[in-house]
């Protein structure tokens, strides 16, 4: 188990450590290649903040596994979904994150959306809308590090790092080295925050 971080509350329980996360990403990368018969025509779009970091890591693994040495930016981008959220008017104004699309665009590509946690499915729905503003992919697939259940929309992930049965009152915290200084997934008693 990873040593405790300042951000973690006492009631938290770590369910994935850094090596678990690394293995899960590697597995997903291979599944993506297998299912799509290679990495040609693929675009990975991460949903900021942590989805974007996961997408970059996944992209690097996909390129490596497929034996390519072109830079990650040719395969990986980010997709801001803020403006498409269905709960905008329930919260204070949210800052908009950048959307960066690989130079080749997404038209007629297979887009793999990448996020950290799949929960209600509303984020993914917003992402589907956001994608249609940017272009028309041939297909869209979904990769998540954690699927914690409790879907509110008819949405299912194509690639899952770990299925994590949770109670609705629990929260799932994904921490990544890029943002949080440590790689881990933890479950805790909810303070009302959505994960």
């Amino acid at each position: 188990m990873t040593s405790g971080t300042p951000a973690r509350s006492a009631t938290e329980r770590v369910v994935l450590d850094s090596s678990d996360i690394a293995r899960a990403l590697t597995r997903i990368a291979h599944e993506i290649i297998e299912r799509n018969n290679g990495s040609a025509g693929l675009v990975l779009l991460g949903i900021p903040t942590r989805g974007a970091d996961l997408a970059r890591r996944l992209g690097e693994r996909v390129l490596q596994a497929d034996g390519r040495d072109d830079p990650a930016e040719t395969l990986v981008g980010t997709l801001d979904i803020t403006l498409h959220r269905d709960d905008l008017r329930r919260h204070p104004v949210r800052p908009i994150e950048p959307t960066t699309i690989p130079a080749s665009g997404i038209d007629d590509k297979v887009v793999v959306l990448v996020d950290d946690v799949l929960f209600s499915g509303r984020t993914v729905r917003a992402a589907l809308d956001a994608i249609s503003d940017v272009g028309r992919p041939r297909a869209i697939q979904l990769a998540v590090l954690v699927d914690r259940g409790h879907r509110e929309l008819p949405i299912r992930a194509d690639y899952v790092g770990k299925n994590l049965p949770t109670a609705a009152a629990e929260h799932v915290r994904v921490r990544l080295a890029e943002v949080d200084g440590v790689d881990e997934v933890a479950i805790g008693r909810s303070t009302g925050e959505e994960s």
Binding site: D80, T82, L83, H84, L88, R89, R90, H91, P92, V93, R94, P95, I96, E97, P98, T99, D129, S132, D133, V134
Partner: protein, 323 residues
């Protein structure tokens, strides 16, 4: 930030956040599908008590790109010469379900009154009031400067160290006031250049330098020069007799070929429009490669999208989260 009434009200962080959001908005406007959904179902009123087709259209485009419904209300020249109508008109529009009011008014402070008198409770955006403020103009000017002078490193940055000349009729100009306030907040140094008759008493307390000598000011070096519109009628006795003739004004304060050369090719040439070619700006300067006058117009839409999103995109009365 509940209203946008004056550039003076913006902190550096708020101003940078608006410019950053505008940059994101601008990027979406490169797409084939320019419309975004965040203000879907919201109604924005363009309440214009003064003609300004440009500003109205810019706000209208911005609101529509964010999927808001737009009601245009032009009240110029109608029964709205007595102030009570401002209250009645605004309350009428709110009763019709307006979620935000964009107001242009010939009386300085009218947007402030609208926002603070308890007449209505929607966010108010000042689209220019009398001789007071025009904050979205200042924001689009700052955005244009940042984009051209900072390039790819623009996100998150201010205008520290940028030298700006603002030239012309400062006395009657809300653009000048807004720009002095915002540019100062963003760290730029501003020099106002104007004949003494067109500077307000009290300008000495503004956070800027003042000069009566355009050639001298240009010789000091500038990264951007902003030419203000000068109304020809200001020279007549009835208009105040502020300067002897358009010819003399143009000779002493116009941006002509020689002054353009003295500025150097890297200085941005700006104008809030509409221009009086041949009076405050020569055609040569207006059409030069370093002129960003049309880009200012383009950027106006992105900046106004950012402002509309930041004021209306969240829950009612919710604040914060602008960084």
């Amino acid at each position: 930030m509940r209203h946008l009434l004056s550039a003076k009200d913006l902190s550096r962080e708020e101003a940078v956040a608006i410019l950053d959001t505008a940059a994101t908005m601008a990027a979406t406007q490169q797409r084939e599908i320019k419309k975004l959904p965040p203000l879907r179902g919201k109604t924005v009123v363009n309440l214009f008590f003064e003609d300004s087709t440009r500003t109205r259209i810019s706000f209208e485009a911005a609101a529509k790109r964010l999927s808001a419904d737009v009601i245009n209300f032009s009240a110029k020249g109608s029964s709205v010469s007595k102030g009570e109508s401002l209250k009645d008109t605004a309350q009428t529009l709110q009763a019709m379900g307006a979620d935000g009011v964009i107001i242009r008014h010939p009386a300085s402070g009218a947007p402030f009154r609208l926002a603070t008198s308890g007449w209505i409770d929607t966010p108010v955006i000042n689209a220019g009031d009398g001789k007071h403020q025009h904050p979205t103009q200042a924001l689009l000017d700052a955005y244009t400067m940042r984009r051209n002078l900072r390039g790819d490193d623009a996100i998150g940055s201010d205008l520290g160290g940028v030298r700006v000349l603002v030239v012309g009729d400062v006395l009657h100009s809300r653009v000048a006031r807004s720009n002095v306030d915002l540019l100062h907040t963003l760290g730029a140094t501003v020099t106002l250049v104007s004949p003494p008759t067109l500077l307000p008493v009290g300008v000495e307390r503004w956070p800027c330098a003042v000069s009566y000598d355009l050639d001298g000011a240009i010789a000091q070096g500038a990264d951007a020069i902003m030419m203000l519109r000068v109304q020809r009628e200001r020279m007549s006795a009835a208009g105040g007799g502020f300067f002897p003739s358009p010819q003399e004004y143009s000779r002493k304060f116009g941006l002509d070929r020689n002054r353009l050369a003295a500025l150097g090719p890297d200085a941005l040439v700006m104008h809030p429009g509409p221009m009086n070619r041949g009076l405050e700006i020569s055609a040569e300067a207006a059409d030069s490669a370093q002129a960003v006058i049309l880009e200012q117009v383009t950027n106006g839409v992105a900046v106004r999208m950012a402002v509309l999103y930041m004021l209306l995109g969240g829950s009612e009365g919710a604040t914060g989260g602008t960084a």
